[in-house]
């Protein structure tokens, strides 16, 4: 049991910032999962697979342009859209026939969907590791009182609030967002006043999956793009959604903050056993508030 000695304030600030950039990815992925869970009541196990697909597509699109700066930005736009399109086809072709069935059926179906995507990725991209280069001005790092802070992480810190603001605008200021929130509370009533609930569901599902793809696209330059990256993220995303309150995207933000920050600060304080910190936080939250931090409907 050895605690890292001499933790300076600068190191702590640095660690919090790194933790916040990790939070960005977790929030983007978990908010999509939460949105789908809240409105459609689908625990989408395939969410992690869509994230993986987003990362692979980003790699492919960027590589088409020789991994140039332009290619990267284009990939960041195109890859999540392709994921969204795919999920639209899946929703209209498959999922929409299952909403009236039991919950177990949907769960199994999304699980099957995740296996299909996993094998599809293996078929198309093979088993080699793949790596994507960030645009030149986002490479390397700058120094915060002697500690390196990667530029790409700063970029993530900018993107995170932008996505959060976009989601706030979508759910509070647009018609579809308001209908979606209403459908989360009482879907029969929404149907009864003449709104086509089925298409609302389709839109929400596509937006949720788009967020998974976006998370994958954003993480691509920092990671090893390989099979198996879906499993790690889906477990973390579900934990975040559960502690945040099922279906509440602000709960997902709160959950991601707790998860990301306990992780990075734990690494600084007690690097040997850092793995347990976020999970201890999850257990603590669930002991105090088993229903999650925020209400399921909002």
């Amino acid at each position: 049991m050895e605690l890292a000695a001499n933790i300076t304030l600068a190191a702590l600030v640095q660690q919090v910032l790194v933790g916040l950039s990790r939070t960005t990815i977790l929030f983007i992925v978990a908010s999509g999962l939460s949105l789908v869970l809240g409105v459609l009541r689908i625990p989408n196990v395939a969410h992690g697979s869509l994230y993986m697909l987003g990362a692979f597509l980003t790699y492919t699109v960027a590589t088409l342009f020789g991994q140039s700066t332009l290619g990267f930005w284009l990939a960041l736009i195109v890859a999540p859209l392709v994921v969204a399109l795919l999920s639209f086809i899946a929703e209209r072709g498959l999922f929409c026939h299952l909403y009236e069935r039991e919950h177990m059926m949907l769960l199994l179906f999304t699980f099957a969907f995740s296996l299909v995507i996993g094998d599809l990725v293996k078929l198309v991209w093979g088993s080699d590791y793949r790596s994507l280069v960030a645009p030149v001005f986002l490479q390397g790092s700058f120094s915060i009182s002697g500690f390196p802070f990667p530029r790409y992480n700063l970029f993530l810190l900018v993107i995170g609030p932008l996505v959060a603001a976009g989601l706030w605008f979508l759910t509070n200021k647009t018609k579809i967002g308001k209908i979606a929130r209403a459908a989360a509370v009482d879907r029969e009533m929404v149907g009864a006043i003449g709104i086509n609930v089925s298409w609302v569901f389709a839109a929400v599902f596509v937006i949720g999956c788009y967020l998974a793809g976006l998370g994958g696209a954003l993480v691509a330059p920092t990671q090893n793009i390989t099979q198996g990256m879906d499993h790690a993220i889906i477990i973390e995303a579900f934990l975040i959604v559960i502690i945040g309150g099922l279906g509440n995207i602000w709960g997902a933000l709160l959950g991601a903050l707790i998860f990301g920050l306990t992780d990075s600060i734990g690494i600084l304080l007690w690097p040997q056993f850092a793995i347990v910190f976020p999970y201890v936080a999850v257990v603590t939250v669930l002991l105090i508030r088993p229903q999650g931090l925020l209400k399921s409907t909002w």
Partner: protein, 407 residues
Amino acid sequence: MKKRFVFNACISIMVIACFFVVAPASHAAKTLKIGIVDCYTGPASTYTNDVRDAFNLEAEKINAAGGILGRNIEVLTRDSKFKVDIGLSAAKELIYRENVDVLMGTINSALALAISDMCKKEKVPFFATFSKSAKITGEKGHRYVFSITENTALAGKAAAVGLAQKPYKKYWIAGDDYEYGHAIADGVWDNLQKLKPDVELLGQSWWKVGEPDFTPYITAILSAKPDAVIVATGGRDCVPFLKAAKATGFNERVPFFMHTATELSTLKPLGLEAPEGVIGTSNYFFYYPETPENKEFVENFEKAYQRKPAVGAVYGLLAARYIFGAYEKTGAIETEKFIDNVEGMTVDSPIGKVTMRAFDHQAMLPMFMGVTKKVDGYDFLIATDIVTIAGEDVMPSIEEIKKARNQ
């Protein structure tokens, strides 16, 4: 309705039964059967495909020349999906149903140990091709198991020999929190302490396998200011770790050793964006040693599979050379004599002559320690300043093996 169902069921069972009866009959011609159980799904397959492909290449060559002892070589591969239960039932199927003469595999150490155990009972020779557990030929070694790959003990000792020559004193250890990570870290550290008693361990970080972002770990290590870092991570985590090292300038601030850092599977995907100056060890590079044997091997492999061979290809080739060479020498398909012949056998390979130590059945592979660098003519980093550490120098002594086995 019910009658119809029973009738259908009977028909289906009969059809299935026919397959079982007919299938073995079609293989009436005698072949030498080699079974390979390995993980061909998920991130590990980038290593295992090379083992299988190089082995097949050698088998095809022998088949084209008329086979071995008048028999054609038949290679049967099974995917373990990195799971012990699936792999073990595949191994069972190969042993009991296919009656394979020799079994090979696998990258998953837990599975390799389980198969080794089964082969001991069934008296089937088993060649461990990519498992890095030192237990295979150490503590759990027996007459029917051979290892043709380096393991955590050998890699640890090789790294310690290399690092002891450097001026570093204050170390930090960081790695994957599972058996491989801890075993390799212990291997390096125990040997380093023996070779250089004044080294000091400042602290350790352990992360989960598949850790998505290493930046927080790296910044935390930097704040402790070690002289050098031993990074005990393997497989797919190498790539994101090196990325984070590059982004934070970790490699420029603190020198670090990472066993598989110079591996082709790690460096190729990173392209020219990999960090320079990282110290790594490997059994093989397609560009080193620069001998005609290695050049010919690379050429043949590339012609067959349109890619450069990575370290796994050498393991595949060695397996083929030991197995087919020993059968040739035995002159019959006779397991006990075959094993006697593999013991102490020396074969040619792209990395020179490699001898199978008779006592513990561990191939004495040389280890190459190099430093990553950009070199003209390659669109990825390669290992340079390569130091060869001879197989004999990194092998545990026979006394140590005896002690581990309680003999």
